[in-house]
């Protein structure tokens, strides 16, 4: 969070210094495909500035979740704009494949055993579901 604020302020300082905000390009340019898609779906053009800030927050969040510093840049770069937005919002809530069941109590064990046997779940490697047919 702190580094994203730092980034924002440096971008704004640079913007003031050069007299214009970065997304307002003064000269003509080819329009890239992601911008056209964003314009088509939402009516807005994507802005490099907004995307940059978003990615900085994703970077901070990944680091806070224990990702090694040397892997951060490539991991953030691999994301598309919409993935970066989604990751920033869902990093704590989206299902993380690999979660173990932590502190399985006896009753829970029994419930899962029964649901395993009914074929609704597959928690234990030693269960074989009853044949439903």
């Amino acid at each position: 969070m702190r580094s994203s604020t730092r980034l924002l302020s440096s971008v704004l300082v640079a913007a003031l210094f050069f007299g214009a905000l970065p997304p307002v390009t003064a000269s003509a340019a080819m329009i890239d495909t992601p911008s056209a898609l964003s314009w088509q779906s939402s009516g807005d053009m994507r802005t490099d500035l907004g995307d940059l800030l978003n990615r900085q927050e994703v970077r901070d969040a990944l680091q806070a979740h224990g990702v090694q510093a040397d892997a951060l840049t490539a991991r953030v770069a691999a994301l598309s704009d919409s993935e970066a937005r989604a990751l920033r919002q869902q990093i704590d809530t989206a299902p993380a494949g690999g979660d173990g069941v932590i502190g399985v109590l006896f009753t829970v064990f029994i419930i899962l055993l029964i649901t395993d046997i009914l074929g609704l779940t597959k928690v234990f490697p030693f269960t074989r579901p009853i044949n439903r047919h």
Binding site: A29, I31, G43, P95, I111
Partner: protein, 360 residues
Amino acid sequence: MRAYQWHALPHSQSIVLSSPARAHKRLIQPLSAMRGWERLWPTHRLHCWALLTMALSLQGCALLDATSSPTFPDQHFAANTTELADVPFHPASDHQCGPGALASLLGQSGVVVTPSDLAAEIYLPGREGTLGIELTAAVRRYGRLPERLPPRLDAITQALAQGHAVLVLQNLGLDWLPRWHFATVIGYDAERDEVLLHSGEEARQALPGFTFEHTWSRSGRFALIALRHDQPPLFATAADWLQTLADAHAGPDAWQIATARWPASATAWFGLGNAWLTQSPAAGNTHSQAEQAFRQALAADSSFLPAANNLAMLLARRGERPAALLVLDQALQHTDQARAEADAMRPALLRTRIEIVNQP
């Protein structure tokens, strides 16, 4: 207790179901062979047991059907037996199932990579697992196009039938006690109704179709395939697939497949044009290929401003200033009363126009 045991016999239930009168007879018959005290069991009580057993078993089925039918429109795989022999198995411990499953998926599409390589790129220590978002992004990182399958079982079997392994997210636990798990579907055994998976530490796990449905459905039915750039998508809509191509910075070959599939999509033609522009001029007449594609985009939708902008710039660079201005003016005219959403794009075209007019 003996009475209960009889009625627990599967046979007795089916008899009761088909003909109560005959069942009554059958159920009573063994009594004659019993010792004296057992004869004291009144026959109607036996009948009650039979009915109770039947009621319980019927209720069990009904409950399952009631809960499953709205969420499972396709209760059974209507598919033939398929098993892909070319999916590499990478044993992965609990937390590492994401990298393991992805290594299998990529391996089948010809990318050699190990789970430990992938772990640095997608494993999230703070969550002790992997997120679907990063997993999808990693497919692109390895030069493949990720396609999210529609949330239907037959989408998985169709993908298998076309030779694609399918990476799935399962919730092996319950909604209120989730246990998220990534695995790779490598086949389906129609005869035994079993889904075959490379799952965690287990190669070729045969999971009953019923169990797979439940565990997959509980995950929100996340299913992903990895396509090479020369392969068309199986189910994707134009909007989704064009976004995938744009995210992957795909080259002209992949965009050409898209324009063949959706020839009326201006966006597909526009993407193809831009893809040609990113090719090195050594690859041939890329600029005239791009021009063709931009013209096709405008033919599909004359108010598609981005195509007019890029085509005009291309023409102006070649020194064809009047042609470039004509393209811009026509497109701007078309959008005057057309789409309000075009507004965000208009300033870009006006800037291009000014620059072309002022061109020395």
